[in-house]
């Protein structure tokens, strides 16, 4: 299928650069996709990836596969990781009560940048589904 991308990597901070480069490549190869839609997906994907890096166990040896599809109506990204099942309630994520907190905004930001963010525990890991409808 045209417009499909796939990337494998180790869930460590240095791998984030590959995600940024992937989004850059999608933008170059799909100039018709609005820059804002790509920017929002990139923002959300980096937050989800950072969450896997921070909380995925065993730390430092979790692998991920990122698949990205460009469709007429949406950008869709699946991040599958090999971490232990994540205990996360995306619906309950909210901004920190202390407006000057230095942490705790990542998943809220990811959700706000997307139209749909889902997390499913699967055998051997987690799947994160990110959907940004094209404006």
């Amino acid at each position: 299928m045209a417009g499909d991308y796939s990337l494998d990597g180790l869930a460590v901070p240095a791998s984030l650069e590959e995600l940024h480069e992937l989004l850059e490549r999608v933008g170059t190869e799909h100039p018709q996709v609005a820059a804002e839609d790509l920017m929002m997906l990139e923002t959300a994907l980096v937050e989800v990836a950072a969450n896997v890096i921070d909380h995925g166990r065993p730390a430092g040896s979790v692998l991920w596969t990122v698949r990205l599809a460009v469709r007429d109506d949406r950008l869709e990204c699946l991040l599958s990781d090999t971490a232990q099942p994540a205990d996360v309630d995306l619906g309950a994520a909210s901004l920190p009560e202390d407006p000057e907190s230095e942490h705790g905004r990542g998943l809220v930001l990811a959700r706000a940048a997307l139209d749909r963010l889902e997390h499913v525990r699967v055998a051997g890991g987690n799947v994160w589904r990110l959907v940004r409808l094209r404006r």
Binding site: E17, M40, A50, R105, L109
Partner: protein, 110 residues
Amino acid sequence: MEFSTSEQPGAVVVHCRGRLNMVAAPRLKELLSSTVESGGQRVVVDLTGTDFVDSSGLGALVGGLKRCRQAGGDLRIAGAGQQVLTVLSLTNLDRVLRPYADVAAAVDGW
């Protein structure tokens, strides 16, 4: 991400070029702390060359702001592009870190 600093009358400017993500955020936080420790109470973080910021980058900016205020100073951000402005807005942090158009506007009347 590359950092550099320059002096403006009454303020130290920290220039950030590249992507401010979880790799760069701890380095920025450390740089802002050492800037305050060296006597720079008023700090402008110049984001003109910052292509991307994530929540850890926002955390570093908020941490720097608190550090400056503890020292009796303040921190302002300048030159943020569309992605940074959007992220600030989506997290309501534009109320805590008001974006200035550029470094000149940030230091004006400070």
